[in-house]
């Protein structure tokens, strides 16, 4: 770190450096300096990522600035991360200012996905805050010539316990950055002693959202900005044969950018840009593409064969010998994330440097994407991500950022690109469709005898069997996808756990065993057992159900958190009508950091999962998405929402896990199993009943 500083700092800046000798604590020297940005230039390297200042700084006014490359997409980490820092530093949450997802100001971060913020960024920031607290106590000890064991922190100050005298953090740090290395052995406040973390702190910047004041990227305006639109192909696999852009140029202020297959327009307002784009006359060459009707055959035929023949033979042998067998295949359709704010970016070039604001879960990933697109060093690209209009795993990529930057470079002005809903449906990426084949068997005493499971294309998340089976053969076969596919909340766990929990239900039915008892009998994982029992008890699993009603249960775990979901449906046989009566879920993600927002996440996951469970599916034919609008693609609305009861299991003895994904996995199999219970019909597709029960029965 010292080396970096000497390398980049001009000699005149040297006087700003201060060396403070500290005593004890295993730390010899605290190096602090001020005005780093002022002398090091706008795109300079940040403080070393292993230093406290990279993560937490005390402003001269006493505000605590916290730096993280993670981003806020509605999961409320701006609040929960502020809470854990406030806890370690003994300051109120409102004295924390979170600086998030800015490639210039925050340490490198791979991205906000995979439920990683809470288990990785939370501990990192706690460690940084605790290290800072330790340094502040050391600094006060030096100033007071006191033993640091006589000191403690309270409400943003170091307090000398005996005399009662205090020094505020800002009086100690004097606006300087504390670049001591993070102390890996620093003592953290245990969850049992938390007073700020673990409490229902409201969304920290909530007011700006209900007033309309918050600026999402799609709301942003920079001086001199124009609006960009990009010409899209009519189908996947189409290439531009020829294009006439003359008519598009007719309107005042319109500029047309053509570069090989890329055609874009800019205009002083979005309507003029859209009008101009509509006047581009283009002819496209298309190639035949697979359609929805043949998708599952296609995915299987184009999949990779994996080894493991011996294992497969063992599973098949055990299957053949077992008295109770279930053999099923499951079809899972492609679905869309539909973040309510579509992809958006504002890009501006200045002196060969590129600045982009964009709604993305991976600002550093987009920075690299831009650096590649324009063959420039990534240090000359700054990406910033204001709190954005959701993602659900659907905003890992930087398409709008690249398009805005491309247009901005060509027209020499800042450009904003906001995708339409249609573009978002057609040209973002989807949750993969998949085919799952399962053959499972049990002994007549209810013990699982064999488990053979093949997933074609969905992915490997959640594919492992949580239950104990004598023989297992489990494989994910990657395939060639005809549609753009990518990450989605819970990844393939929604598909895999749907299949696992459906098969478990049907095995129990064949065995004439209670589905909950059958699961518990084959389970060793205490946390999964606990959520299953907790949900069942809250639901009243053992209570008699009204005639025509069905109960279903499902559970699972991914990424170190556990969900169990119970559903009740009512089936009116005469009318062939099905109603979701209620849902109960129990969830355990270890220590709870914010129960208010955790419950919100679990609720959102379950209800969003209702869409994929019941009716969401992308329809496509020959490379064209046929339902690219919210009037054609159905997402859950108010009338779809059943009464929902959520039990949060707070395990203060277990490190917190991320909660934005796992709760989605239980709802589809729970409803499916409830339908089977009520009607005797085993539905093995996701969505279960896109046209209502009738079509599928």
């Amino acid at each position: 770190m010292k080396k970096t500083l000497q390398h980049t700092a001009p000699a005149k800046g040297m006087h700003r450096r201060h060396f403070i000798k500290l005593l004890g604590g295993g730390i010899a020297v605290a190096l602090t300096w001020s005005d780093l940005d002022a002398w090091a230039g706008p795109l300079a390297r940040r403080a070393d990522d292993n230093s406290i200042a990279a993560w937490v700084q005390i402003r001269e006014n006493g505000q605590i600035a916290v730096f993280t490359g993670k981003v806020e997409v509605g999961q409320n980490i701006r609040t929960s991360l502020a809470q854990v820092v406030a806890e370690e530093l003994a300051v109120p949450v409102n004295s924390i200012e979170m600086v998030m997802g800015d490639t210039r100001l925050t340490p490198y971060d791979r991205g906000t996905y995979g439920s990683l913020t809470t288990p990785t960024m939370g501990p990192k920031l706690r460690k940084a805050a605790a290290s800072l607290k330790e340094a502040l106590i050391d600094m006060a000890a030096v100033q007071w010539k006191a033993d640091k064991s006589a000191l403690r922190v309270k409400n943003g100050s170091v307090v000398h316990t005996a005399s009662g005298k205090t020094l505020s953090y800002e009086a100690l740090s004097k606006g300087q950055k504390i670049v001591l290395p993070l102390n890996d052995r620093v003592k953290l406040t245990p969850a049992t002693e938390w007073t700020v973390a673990g409490t229902p702190v409201p969304k920290v910047n909530g007011r700006s959202f209900v007033t309309g004041g918050h600026k999402y990227v799609s709301d942003m305006v920079v001086p001199g900005m124009v609006y960009g639109k990009v010409l899209r192909a009519p189908a996947y696999g189409a290439s531009l044969a020829e294009a006439d852009t003359e008519k598009a140029r007719a309107a005042a202020g319109v500029m047309v950018v053509k570069d090989q297959d890329f055609i874009g327009v800019t205009a002083p307002d979005p309507q003029t840009a859209a009008n101009a784009l509509a006047r581009v006359e283009a002819r496209w060459d298309t190639t035949p593409q697979p359609s929805k009707a043949e998708i599952f055959t296609y995915l299987k035929n184009n999949s990779e064969q994996r080894g493991g023949a011996e294992n497969a033979a063992a599973a098949q042998k055990a299957f053949a010998a077992a008295p109770v067998q279930v053999k099923q295949h499951f079809e899972v359709q492609y679905i869309a994330h539909v973040p309510l704010e579509p992809r958006a970016a504002v890009a501006t070039w200045e002196n060969g440097e590129l600045t982009v604001w964009t709604g993305t879960q991976r600002p550093f990933g987009v920075q690299e994407e831009l650096a590649r697109a324009f063959s420039m060093p990534k240090e000359k690209v700054r990406v910033m991500m204001p709190d954005t209009g959701s993602g659900y795993g659907g905003k890992h990529s930087g398409e709008a950022a690249v398009e805005a930057a491309r247009l901005a470079k060509a027209v020499g002005k800042p450009v904003k690109v906001v995708w339409t809903r249609e573009e978002e449906f057609k040209w973002a990426y989807l949750r993969p469709g998949g085919l799952i084949e399962v053959a499972a068997s049990a002994e007549s005493n209810g013990k699982l005898a064999s488990w053979e499971f093949h997933n074609y294309n969905s992915g490997g998340a959640g594919i492992d069997l949580p239950y104990k089976s004598a023989v297992e053969h489990i494989q994910h076969h990657p395939s060639k996808t005809p549609l753009k596919q990518g990450s989605y909340r819970g990844l393939a766990a929604t598909a895999n756990i749907f299949a696992i929990e459906s098969v478990m239900n049907d095995l129990a039915a064949k065995l004439k065993l209670d589905p909950l008892a059958f699961r518990l009998q084959n389970l060793e994982d205490e946390r999964l057992k606990n959520v299953l029992q907790t949900a069942a008890s809250k639901f009243g699993w053992n209570k008699n159900k009204p005639a025509g009603h069905g109960y279903g249960i499902a559970g699972g775990f991914v990424k170190n958190s556990y969900i169990a979901t119970c559903a009740e449906v009512a089936y009116n046989e005469a009318a062939n009508e099905l109603k979701l009566v209620r849902v109960v879920a129990a969830y355990d993600c270890g220590t709870i950091i914010n129960p208010l927002h955790l419950e919100n996440q679990v609720m959102g996951c379950i209800l969003q999962g209702l869409g994929g469970a019941l009716f969401e599916e992308i329809d496509f034919e020959d490379g064209r998405i046929l339902n690219p609008s919210l009037s054609a693609y159905r997402v859950p609305r108010f009338a779809d929402i059943p009464p929902l009861d959520i039990v949060l299991v707070n395990r203060k003895d277990i490190q917190p896990a991320g909660a934005g994904e796992t709760p989605i996995v239980g709802i589809a199999p729970a409803i499916r199993n409830a339908i089977a219970n009520a009607t005797g019909i085993s539905l093995n597709t996701l969505p279960l009943i896109p046209q209502g029960l009738k079509k599928n029965s």
Binding site: G74, G206, Y227, S390, N600, L607, F638, I641
Partner: protein, 146 residues
């Protein structure tokens, strides 16, 4: 053309087929109303026109001349939030909150014609608004309690 938004008269010079949403967002820089679908199917762009909640994305700006338009920015009075804005905060009735302005405007229209709606009346009135984060139960609570 002239339009009245949040009790202020504006003169606009916009392309013929400009929507009320673009007029608000682009020409008046009132960006609280959001684009979500462009076909009046998600409610993110809802504003009040003469007291009724309408999707501004499919409302031609020319059609609201001589009418009174209220947007989310017009609800706060003297630094005090509208009861529905406050209720959304109190109930934590959002996640990404991109839908909140449209939700709140639709709820303001509902409450002005029906101050004590039942749960079912809330569902019926709000069916045109999508919360993709699915904070629906809390939104219903907020509307009930406001």
């Amino acid at each position: 053309m002239k339009i009245n938004v949040n009790s202020t008269e504006y003169t606009l010079n916009v392309p013929d087929n400009t929507s009320l949403l673009d007029a608000l967002r682009v020409h008046l820089n009132l960006t609280g109303s959001k684009y979500g679908c462009g076909e009046g199917a998600c409610g993110a762009c809802k504003v009040l026109v003469d007291g009724r909640a309408v999707p501004s994305c499919i409302t031609p700006v020319a059609s609201v001349q001589h009418k009174s338009v209220v947007t989310i920015e017009g609800l706060e009075k003297d630094g005090k939030l509208h009861p529905l804005q406050q209720a959304f905060l109190d109930e934590d009735a959002f996640q990404c909150a991109y839908c909140s302005p449209g939700m709140i405007m639709a709820a303001v229209a509902l409450k002005s014609r029906n101050p004590h709606p039942s749960r079912q009346e809330i569902i019926d009135a709000m069916q045109g608004n999508i919360c993709r984060c699915c904070a629906y139960p809390r939104i219903i609570n907020a509307i009930s309690k406001a």
